[in-house]
């Protein structure tokens, strides 16, 4: 091999080594960040379901959720995830617990994107689901007679229904695989 080729090969190897170092650094930071996310999600789901989230989450390539946890405890298995729910009032991160049949059992807001509205910080069903109209979710039975209240509840449910449906589908496929 002549000197010029040798020089070229060395340069290419040096560049490849440089890119490999960058990739290893990014992977290292990503693993650290991911372990922090998994720990936070596991804590949120354990607090919500009263069950322990299994060590290794299942992976999904959905734009709104990426990890599904098997929640261990008494009785039939439960599955949990932290998903992004988008609505007219902004976006929130919600911890969701599903039964093995794909039914939503419990939900709680664990973070909000750009909503900043009070409903995102309290109970999810009573506060978030149902907001969206000019008036809040009915706190008294008499409020249900107002048309705009009912439409607000419907709109929020509609906003979330698609994502919840996809999570439910993922739970069903995970439950099938487990069996």
């Amino acid at each position: 091999m002549d000197e010029a080729r040798k020089q070229l090969l060395l340069q290419n190897l040096a560049a490849a080594g440089f890119f490999a170092v960058l990739a290893v650094l990014v992977a290292g930071v990503a693993i650290l960040a991911e372990s922090g996310s998994i720990r936070r999600e596991r804590e949120a789901l354990a607090a919500l379901a009263g069950r322990k989230a299994q060590a290794l989450p299942m992976r999904f390539t959905d734009p709104d959720f990426s990890r599904l946890y098997l929640l261990e405890g008494k009785g039939s298995p439960r599955y949990g995830t932290v998903a992004r729910l988008d609505g007219d009032g902004g976006s929130v991160l919600a911890a969701l617990v599903f039964t093995g049949k794909g039914d939503l059992e419990a939900a709680r807001i664990v973070g909000e994107g750009a909503s900043g509205l009070p409903f995102a910080k309290d109970g999810w069903f009573s506060e978030f689901l149902g907001k969206g109209a000019s008036r809040g979710f009915p706190r008294a039975l008499a409020d249900l007679r107002r048309g705009d209240v009912a439409s607000g509840a419907t709109r929020s449910l509609d906003d979330c229904a698609e994502t919840l449906g996809r999570v439910s589908g993922a739970v069903l496929s995970a439950a099938e695989r487990k069996e």
Partner: protein
Amino acid sequence: MEARRDAFVPDPVLGGLLGLCPLVAAADTLADGAILGLGASLSAIILGAGLPAFREFIPERLRAPVALGLGAFLAALFGLAAEAFSPALTAGLGLYLPLIAVNCVTLAALRRGIRGEEQKPGLLRSSLGYLLAAILISALREAIGLGRLTLPTPGPFPYTLVFVDEAPFRLLAAPAGGFLILGSLAAAYRFALRALGRRLP
């Protein structure tokens, strides 16, 4: 007069209409605009200031790929840092965080760095100009469009100033509204430049 013109660096967004994609598509809240603007301007400053120093050590044919690799590296690190800062805020930004690597402001700094051109103070001015324009556009979109301002505070629940409960002009929060705000600001910017006797290069 001539010296003044030489030193003038137009705002990359309002003057050069560069790096618009994230600002009109994703930056519909102040927090989103600040995060995207900070990512692009930090990458541009680091690459623009750092590349000329290492330029001599990199063979000419490898300068562009190495610089692009560094840009992608910085964007990836910034994305991970932003996610750790506020997972809920960054969840909505999606692809726009890694795309900071190919933002026009970042690429312009990268190109000048590869060529070894003197960048100061233009680099700092254009980077800060991009950040300020991102903050201004996103703040106007959120304040007028949604009636609130979401501040980029750490943690799962960012602090939000709510002015009105109902969004007064929701169109402005949509990408079409982003173009409306951008067009109005760019026109005002040009009008102000003309009043000051300056011209866009």
